[in-house]
């Protein structure tokens, strides 16, 4: 328990340090687009596969849930509400945490144990601004875009399953889906994704910077990074949802 709070405090101090480093040094030029490209493009194929299969399952379960009420036609509404509002941002965040987050933690961890981070400091380059800032900007730029792509793929897969496997009418699906979702929902999804990107990047880089010794150290840091960031994202999701959809606004 004490360890937990100590870790939380270290993380907070690290974030303040990082903020100060960025404000005084600024991110390196040219690196940001490179990182954004790597985060976005490398995670895209996996995100496409995952969101397609989540969409198919949403359609199947929505059909099962509404059939006893005689409301099979509502599958479109169910998929649109559940997919666009909750599942697409969560799935995109979890996949980016698993793919890009672990990569950040292990890259920075390896740099730490090979003393490359210390070498940067010796050369008077601030490692926080040089290593973390471009990754942070990259992920905050890319995650909303990836979320919107995930929404599109999820809806298409759900449409395919409901029309070709479950035999529902395609125009009804589209009609119910578009009636239950407003354009503002996509905007909210993008806002959620930005918060998630911020959490994933800072948590993963924090664990990378505080990596233990040797190969086990890198393994443990990577492991902790993905678990901690996905748990924080899902807990945070409740509060953001309550704020955006719970009637508080």
């Amino acid at each position: 328990m004490t360890n937990f709070f100590a870790g939380l405090g270290r993380y907070g101090l690290w974030c303040i340090q990082f903020l100060r480093a960025v404000l005084t040094h600024g991110p390196p030029k040219g690196q940001t687009l490179h990182e954004a490209f790597r985060i976005g493009i490398k995670s895209l194929p996996i995100l496409l596969i995952i969101s397609a299969f989540v969409g198919t399952n949403l359609a199947l379960q929505g059909y099962n849930a509404f059939k006893p009420l005689g409301g099979q036609r509502l599958v479109g509404m169910f998929v649109a509400l559940a997919g666009v509002r909750e599942l697409a941002p969560i799935i995109a965040a979890a996949m980016i945490a698993a793919k890009a987050g672990t990569e950040m933690a292990s890259q920075i961890g390896v740099m730490r144990i090979r003393e490359q981070v210390d070498a940067l400091e010796v050369m008077a380059v601030n490692p926080l601004a040089f290593l973390v800032a471009p990754r942070l900007i990259g992920i905050v730029l890319m995650l909303p875009a990836l979320t919107l792509i995930a929404i599109f793929v999820m809806m298409s897969a759900a449409y395919a399953v409901s029309v070709f496997q479950l035999g529902l009418a395609g125009h009804e699906f589209i009609q119910f889906a578009s009636e239950s979702i407003a354009p503002i929902d996509f905007f909210y999804g993008a806002i959620k994704a930005m918060f998630f990107g911020l959490i994933i990047c800072t948590v993963s880089c924090y664990f990378g910077f505080h990596c233990g010794k040797g190969p086990e150290g890198v393994g443990t840091a990577t492991n902790r990074a993905v678990v901690t960031s996905s748990v924080i994202c899902i807990v945070l999701n409740y509060f953001v949802s309550e704020l955006l959809y719970g009637g508080a606004l």
Partner: protein
């Protein structure tokens, strides 16, 4: 493309090698129990910490939908069916892959890099039998156990939001909880997570066992483990859902 096919073949060969070790004694039961205990206790907190808020979100969004029809009492059965069938198996498996699978890959990878696996072989102990097979079996046992914990905490999260925050009646919630439930809903999720646990165990041990290239190799093995196992079991999930629940009308 050719590389992916070759990797798939190597993975198949590795799985067969593990299966061959599991039909002959000794099976190292103590080792299996120990690994199961470690995996379950390590993953329990993350699984509960993820499924509870997700149940809360489901209650939040479900109430909005059902309020349109004035059918707020349906909320409990929606939450229980969705949690038992999909949400808890998938989220618990994601967390098992992220926590248990990646720590399994990290420890096996570190053993490989430090040549501990070779040392085991030199002592005439079969490394796959002693180090790998118990981990795979342990993951296959731990995943369904964690799914049960996740289901309970997901429903509890839904109850928390619906009753304590949104002020629905708690008695109605508990009464409607099982109204659409079928026996298959109770064991379908456990069946699914057993398959997912097997997949996670095999994939994580495969990547850990074949790690190479120093500390960076261990990091890459962990990264590959999480990504590949999540893709594998989410793909599998669609087929299992179609097979188990496709013909059941709740």
């Amino acid at each position: 493309m050719l590389n992916a096919l070759a990797a798939l073949g190597r993975f198949g060969g590795f799985s067969v090698a593990i299966a061959a070790r599991l039909v002959r004694r000794p099976l190292f039961f103590g080792h299996i129990l120990n690994q199961t205990w470690v995996t379950t206790t390590r993953c329990l907190l993350p699984v509960v910490a993820v499924t509870f808020p997700f149940g809360m979100v489901m209650a939040l969004q479900g109430l909005e939908i059902f309020r349109l029809f004035g059918a707020e009492r349906m909320l409990a059965s929606l939450i229980s069916i969705a949690t038992l069938r999909e949400i808890s198996p998938v989220l618990a498996s994601v967390l098992v892959a992220a926590q248990g699978g990646s720590s399994c890959a990290a420890s096996l990878g570190a053993m490989r890099i430090k040549e501990e696996l070779d040392a085991t072989e030199v002592m005439a102990i079969d490394a796959i039998k002693y180090h790998v097979a118990p981990r795979v079996v342990a993951m296959t046992i731990a995943c369904p156990l964690l799914n049960i914990a996740g289901s309970v905490s997901g429903v509890a999260g839904g109850y928390f939001t619906a009753v304590f925050i949104k002020g629905e009646s708690g008695g109605t919630f508990m009464a409607e909880l099982w109204s659409f439930m079928q026996p298959i809903d109770l064991y379908g999720g456990v069946l699914k997570t057993t398959v997912f646990g097997l997949l996670i165990g095999l994939i994580s041990c495969y990547h850990g066992y074949r790690a190479s290239g120093g500390a960076a190799g261990v990091g890459k093995a962990v990264n590959d483990t999480v990504v590949h196992s999540v893709v594998a079991f989410i793909t599998m999930n669609y087929f299992l859902t179609s097979a188990l629940f496709g013909s059941v009308s709740p």
